[in-house]
Amino acid sequence: MSKRKVRIATTSLAGCFGCHMSLLDIDERIVDLMAIAEFDRSPLNDKKTFTRRCDIGLVEGGCCNEDNVHVLKEFRKNCDVLVAVGQCAIMGGLPVMRNAIMHSEDPLRECLDEAYTTSKVLNPSKQIPNDPALPLILDKVYTCAQVVKIDYQIPGCPPSGDTLWAALTALIKNEEPTLDYALIKFD
């Protein structure tokens, strides 16, 4: 009997999908990957819920709203190994810049005002989006590791396809992933 396929789940929280695009940069190696692994919950196959427990969860982006928190906790609950992929997931990335508004009496309001009402960006209605279907945004952006325990972090914005490949294949083989200097050298 052949071994069962390793189950991988992925999600994009407060990220730009760049990390997911980068995962596709493994190019034809995706064929090799599909030989040993399968995707469960993931935007790549548009599965919106977990069908079963997964071995590996890849998380792109940090948490800027309640839905991000909810999804991240779901991932923690359903994945054996949880990996924060990219700067947004690890440090907050671009979204976390709003945390710099910290010396204000009401940082969140100031942030929304600056984005939608007082800035020069075209927004004739001056309205702050508030559809009931929109998840509430958090007081500030939290990194993944601030919300749940994270087992591994893969640096980069985004990490290159080669980097992701190296990390992912090691994890699939149940080995400690190591990244060569070239894979984490960014300049």
Binding site: E66, D67, V69, H70, K73, R76, K77, L82, D106, L108, R109, L112, I128, N130, P132, P135, L136, I137, L138, D139, K140, Y142, A145, Q146, V147, V148, K149
Partner: protein, 614 residues
Amino acid sequence: MEHQKVIQQICADLGNDPKRMMDILWTVQDRLGCIAPASMGLIADLTHTQRVVVEGVVSFYAFFHQEVQGQNVIYLCEDIIDQHAGFNALKETVESCLGIQPGQMTKDGLFSFYLAPSIGMCDQAPAALINQTPVTKLTPTLLKRIINNLRKGKPVAATIPKLGDGNNSHPLIQSMVQNNVRKQGEVLLSGHQNDEGLSKALSLSPAEVIDYVLKADLKGRGGAGYRSAEKWKIAADTPAKSRFLICNADEGEPGTFKDRLLLTERAHQLIEGMTIAAYAIEATQGILYLRAEYRYLQPYLESVLSERRQKALLGENISDTDFDFDIRIQLGAGAYICGEESALISSCEGKRGEPTTKPPFPAVYGYLGLPTIVNNVETFCNLPPILAKGSDWFRSIGTEKSKGTKLLSVCGDCDRPGIYELPMGIKLSEVLSSCGALNTEAVQVGGASGVLIGRSDFDRQLCFEDLPTAGAIMIFNSQRNILKIVNYFMHFFIEESCGYCTPCRVGNVFLKERLDKIMNGLGEPADLEYLRNLSATVRETSRCGLGHTSPNPILSSMENFPLVYAALLKEHPSGEQAGFNIQKALDESRIIAKRRSLIYDPDFSSGEGRGNQE
């Protein structure tokens, strides 16, 4: 414009010299109440520099203000020793008497109120600087009286109970500070200031003086413990058209106040020592870098300098030789990092007090690019007795690797806080018993950047080979909260980091955040690992001694008080982080959006909240 004329005059008096920026800014602030953004451009033009450079300097130092200050300015020392001695009651007193918080000014413009890190009065805490006058052993009653009298226009000096001992009552000092000398040792505090050491030095060649001090094996008293004469040799051997000498009287390390005593009672000995060192390295000019908290000593120190000039012990042709050497006093402006020698040099050059990358070391490339020797006040004070009584005499005191005596600044929970001059190698337990420390739980040796040790280490020796210290011995009894002490030190480093390196600027904040988490009862065993790893990163990747030592309080307390940490840690098996509180994170959003959470408000009217699944 009136202000414009004043500023022009001030800059002209200091030669429109950008190197004298510190003095220019001090004088502008003294005269005009602040260094207003509007005047920075003018100062920049007059000193041929850019406005951003001036603003950079102003914003760097805690004592420089861009907003108008009150006529009276209160700096309350918030150090941990003061906190244990009644700081909170004093803070409340100011807040209730004046109705302002730290950083604010009263509406009538009469008072400004700030907090300050250690102002060097830890042996007579709690203390404050009010209009630059130190007020010690402060009580709410005394503080109220001072404030009321200031309202009536009566200066602080008129309200303080009585003048301190020794030179503290000198007409040029007139301060209530007490010397609190508890033990006079053989080298520094007994004996006379008679310039015998200088005469001896001048009878030798400069190289012979260096050898003499090398033989005495004098090591620096400012913290790092580098062999003084070796450093001098490097400067002396560096070819240059002239060399420079600086005395480090920045004494910013919390818990250290021994230089305050030497500046008050041994000023002649200090200047004599500086003159000897200048002769040895053939320097013709020097600076005494005085921390702003000790500004009350400046008029007296100036008078000592001029007295010595009159007696031909300073200035041109010292003691009828062809040796010239003179000193100016450079006032700091409230920055701990300026105690670091390269930052101190930057500050003397009129810049932000940022350390420089080493090498080159100051002994090779220092003030204005000249080979520069920076030594601590106490180091210089050791020179006259060494020259007068001989290297062998000095070597006979102390231990194998630490010769001579050490001035200890003892403070905290003990009956007799103050200055103890003891031979190097004294056991900490002996210090504790001579100062009457009962029920001691922990001692911070070496100030904030030192180590926190517990009972099992009290038999260790204070010397370079065992427990080195620039002098600070802070004593904490069993009533004190160990983590609160450590937390204060982290707060101190965060405030005092110059901000140049990310590991120090950001790492110290993260260290404190994690410590806060543990103190709030949310800690997990993995947090200790995190603290250890991050501490190692901060240590290894920071540029200067501040970042190299800032993790010390955390690391040493984790090592010496493991149970204190362990008692607060518990596993959170769910995989969720205990420090994260979704309800708190949503509070503001609920108010702004005027709706509740679809996910996290379980009683959401539809009853279908996704929160049910969690």
